[in-house]
Symmetry: C2
Subunit: 411 residues, 2 copies
């Protein structure tokens, strides 16, 4: 008999019919003997509806009051699911973040969980009840309602699993697991049975939007086994764990991630002196622009070129900031490009295998794809290429690293 | 500088535009120097929408979970108003029933307020903030969200005013006060400047649906001056107080109430023995049918006739119950009538004035209106008449008791 935390997102509880389906699923687990804590998001679209309502009053809604409003979204779904379970003869009770009590800091709209009181939930579980908890929300030490920010329901699920020392935290979504790459780009993409937290972090931040990064970090930190599953299809999903020992037997590369949302900016001919990187990126950061890849190569004639990528939406803003910096630094020129894509290979296996990067470059060279930037981490190699080659590059790498599904590979 | 509790109903906060108007009104009071606690209902229609959602899951929604859902309605409006006030430069903060803490019993969907913690609110008032509180809801000793039942927001307002020892509780509605009778029936109906709690109770229960009966009872019990005002028109409204001394100078009758929603049932020829009233009304009560007027006259030949009125919707059900009772008691027959109306004159003045009832009967006789039933209390005389005479009777009584507006009276 396991203790399982199950989290269902907005699409999974988007209608009363869907909520009934979730209740059927929860009932099956309960009848199999598991103790269950179910975390829910608001019905899909509801949070946006509430935010729009607030924005009719004020473009910049007061953060404290915005939390009071948007937290009602989950409050509705938890009670509906509790009702649906009770209707099926399954004792159940719903709790808001405040009722549990999920204590957070006071950073309204983007609060962080500080502590979870597990007393009430444990009492209910002991009494045989399924506990349905509102995701995404909590309460600060003064009793103010807080929300964790978008996607915070995943974090609520993981935090509850950690506090309760649950055997598993199951995140139900509209995909049946984590794939070696996007199946829309590579038909032979395969569902992974297992992936490590670190790999998942690299995959998530690189555009495989299955899980909230914060939730994965949290799960890794407290070693909560995390499983991604499809809400309404049967299947084992993908388990995300700390278990690295077995990775020796696994493929070197777990997956191919990619991102089309970036743009590249280069400032040429800046003096190669200490502090120049800060002089360039300081104003960018001050303008609230997030930077992803940063590459600086060796210098020529005491000057160097400095390149970084930003979100495509921030490109114009970043270009203006950089133009000003270039003038101050007496740089030669600023050039940029929005027609780029980033492709990354991710895998803990590459730690113990030399030559992974060169195998990547070889595969791209075979397809005559030029590499514009390279950046590496312990478990990841990312390259920037011209956007039009993106699909070709991903497919080539998927095959080169032997990720193609055997059934369809036709070898 | 007064401390005022202001309550705005669902229609007054039915749209964002209306909420902005309420904010303008509150701002005016605040700038005049008053300390303000504002109690809000949910946007009109929202509570029904939430109940309908719950009923899609279950015809008989679990009461505890239904409260979790419907309490979100006010949670949205309080935060919207707080935002609108802050936008106007008026410091404000919103609280749910749980946050205040409005402690209730655990009777979900129809809870009663046990105690209100005034600490938080007093702190905010001292700091110059307008406090916006969710009406209709509270929390029980175990931390479960409760609701007070329909119209409970009035009760929240009065209970807060009592707990804070406020100078006045203002109930904003879609009428500009309490009238001598329904202006749609009598064009000369006048707004009352003042009315006593007892009169208001009789008026309210008799069909002048301006205020919740429970709220008036509560206000009377704790002597909270209650004022009914129009949400979006200027005017003094009607003050409801304990102040009876001045009534000596006031008209004998404060108003004419009436009700078309009743039906009459008579059981004829029942043995005139002790306990027969209970034998007749016991099964009616057991069938959850509420009874209004009850009349039993002197007996003939050891049998008597027993008449009572019920809501028209309960007529068929009550008739069936009564048929069964009649068979058991060997009664002669059961007769009923749904074409009736009740008209009542209400006024604390009648305590010190003899002949009020006969003056009423005289006025009705002059119009050849037959009286079917009579029932009296200390400050009220009610008669049941044929429904088609209702308007005529109300106008005749309004004139006979000198309630017609002088400007339009044309004497």
């Amino acid at each position: 008999m396991a203790l399982i935390v199950q989290k269902f997102g907005g699409t999974s509880v988007g209608t009363v019919e869907r909520i009934e389906q979730v209740a059927d699923k929860v009932k099956k687990f309960r009848e199999a003997g598991d103790d269950l804590v179910v975390v829910l998001s608001a019905m899909s679209g509801e949070t946006n509806r509430l935010i729009d309502l607030a924005k009719k009053i004020s473009d910049q809604p007061v953060p404290r009051e915005l939390d009071v409003i948007v937290s009602t979204g989950e409050q509705v779904t938890i009670a509906l699911l509790a009702m649906a379970l009770i209707k099926r003869g399954i004792p159940a009770v719903s709790y808001t973040g405040n009722q549990v009590r999920i204590l957070t800091d006071s950073a309204h709209n983007k609060a962080r969980i500080l502590q979870i009181d597990d007393q009430k939930i444990r009492g209910d579980l002991k009494a045989g009840r399924v506990v349905v908890v509102a995701g995404f929300q909590g309460v600060d030490e003064h009793g103010n309602i807080t929300t964790l920010g978008r996607g915070g329901s995943d974090t609520t699920g993981v935090a509850l699993a950690a506090a309760l020392k649950a055997d598993e935290c199951q995140i139900y979504t509209d995909v049946d697991g984590v794939y070696t790459t996007d199946p829309r780009v590579v038909a032979q993409a395969q569902r992974l049975d297992k992936i490590t937290f670190e790999e998942m972090l690299e995959m998530a931040s690189l555009g495989s939007k299955v899980l909230q990064i914060r939730a994965v970090e949290f799960a890794g930190k407290y070693n909560v086994p995390l499983r991604v599953l499809h809400s309404f299809q049967e299947g084992p999903g993908t388990l995300i764990t700390i278990d690295e020992e077995e990775s020796m037997e696994q493929p070197i590369i777990s997956g191919i991630a990619f991102n089309r949302d970036e743009a590249k900016l280069t400032i040429r001919g800046v003096p190669d002196t200490p502090g120049v990187a800060f002089k360039i990126l300081g104003p960018i950061s001050a303008a609230n622009i997030e930077v992803d890849m940063i590459v600086q190569n060796v210098s020529h004639d005491n000057t160097t070129d400095f390149t970084f990528t930003v979100h495509r939406n921030d490109y114009d803003k970043a270009h203006k900031v950089l133009d000003k910096t270039a003038a101050e630094l007496n740089a030669r020129e600023v050039v940029g490009d929005t027609n780029i894509a980033k492709v990354s290979i991710v895998g803990v296996g590459m730690r113990s295998h030399a030559g992974v990067a060169s195998r990547m470059f070889e595969a791209l060279a075979k397809e005559s794809i030029n590499i514009q930037m390279i950046s590496t981490s312990e478990i990841k190699v990312s390259v920037v290429i011209e956007e039009k080659y993106l699909e070709l590059a991903v497919r080539a790498l998927h095959t080169a690293f032997e990720l193609d599904a055997p059934a369809r590979q036709g070898e």
